[in-house]
């Protein structure tokens, strides 16, 4: 995992590890290693699911002093991401935002914005413009 501290990090959380990894591949294709990136998905038995501990690990792995934008698919992914953020130390937790955006398009758009050095709020706003 790249941990370039200058740019906002991107975390992708899907119930499906295949979707999470595939989305991360698309982000990488777009921005290379210029953005810290991590993904997680699936449950302990190899089935579909999300859990807070894996999300916490992903956020830590993609950590950037500029903050981290998290992309989620369905309900549990968002709820577990909120729990994961609360498990961070408060100084870090304030710099992690969950984006209300489609997971693939949002992550790719956000990464493109982040690769140019945009601040967290700008990265999130760019991704959220995709939501109706």
């Amino acid at each position: 995992m790249n941990t370039n501290g200058a740019n906002v990090g991107i975390v992708i959380v899907s119930h499906s590890p295949l979707i999470a990894r595939g989305t991360a591949d698309m982000v990488r294709q777009m921005v290379g290693d210029s953005v810290p990136l991590a993904w997680c998905g699936g449950n302990a038995e190899g089935g579909l699911g999300t859990n807070a501990r894996d999300i916490l690990t992903a956020i830590t792995s993609a950590w950037s002093e500029a903050g981290v934008a998290v992309f989620v698919d369905l309900g549990g992914a968002e709820t577990n991401s909120e729990m994961a953020i609360e498990m961070l130390e408060p100084a870090r937790a304030r710099r992690v935002l969950i984006c209300n955006a489609p997971i693939v398009e949002g992550a790719v758009m956000a990464a493109a914005e982040a690769s140019g050095g945009a601040a967290l709020a700008r990265v999130v706003a760019t991704a959220e413009e995709l939501s109706p």
């Binding site: 038995e45 699911g49 859990n51 501990r53 709820t79 909120e82 729990m83």
Partner: protein
């Protein structure tokens, strides 16, 4: 609730037993209106807590409740992990803030249930486990005997059959969610029933 040592491992065993024996049923309910993993998720969570029951029993009750909550968050996963986890974590925090004493545990329930509602962005009537938690809270605050609390819980779970889901995966089905019991409401009522039965038989509770 004077000491957590003899009580808590017993409660954990009772909760574990009811989840394990109903895991298939919870899975069936969830397959009807959700993604079908509620039974296996709840079983994974209850087994993780069960494995640590003796250590948990040695902790002061507020710490034990928070620890159980964290275990549930990380092992149940899905949407239910954060919801059950939040309930127990908040009860533990409330209990620590309030200090010890009879009846204090009941007073931790309303703020903990409110935290679950915020976490799930749900309210009464949305066809979620919250419908059962509100019924339990009301019964507990009225100081109803355990058997009555359990009956209110099961009745509230049954009431979710006629509801249309407004939160969670089942909400994607719209009207087709009507006619099925919400799996989260079912697990919540089963756990409540198991806890109440245990407390009835527990000498000093």
């Amino acid at each position: 609730m004077r000491t957590s040592r003899p009580l808590l491992p017993g409660l954990i065993e009772a909760c574990h037993a009811v989840i394990v024996s109903n895991a298939d049923h919870l899975g069936e309910l969830d397959r009807a209106i959700g993604d079908g993993d509620h039974g296996t998720n709840m079983k994974r969570g209850s087994e993780a807590v069960y494995a640590e029951r003796d250590q948990l029993g040695g902790l002061p009750l507020p710490e034990a409740l928070e620890k159980i909550g964290m275990v549930l968050v990380t092992t149940i996963g899905g949407a239910a992990g954060p919801l059950y986890g939040t309930l127990l974590i908040e009860m533990g925090r409330g209990l620590r803030a309030a200090g010890s004493g009879d009846g204090v545990l009941a007073e931790t329930l309303p703020p903990a249930v409110a935290a679950v509602a915020r976490r799930g962005r749900a309210q009464a009537g949305d066809k979620t486990l919250l419908d059962v938690l509100y019924a339990v809270q009301q019964a507990v605050l009225k100081q109803s005997p355990p058997a009555e609390v359990a009956a209110y819980a099961m009745s509230a779970a049954t009431d979710t059959i006629a509801m249309k889901a407004l939160r969670g995966r089942a909400s994607f089905l719209g009207d087709r969610s009507i006619g099925h019991m919400d799996p989260g409401a079912c697990s919540c009522a089963l756990l409540t029933g198991s806890i109440c039965r245990f407390l009835e038989e527990f000498p000093s509770a």
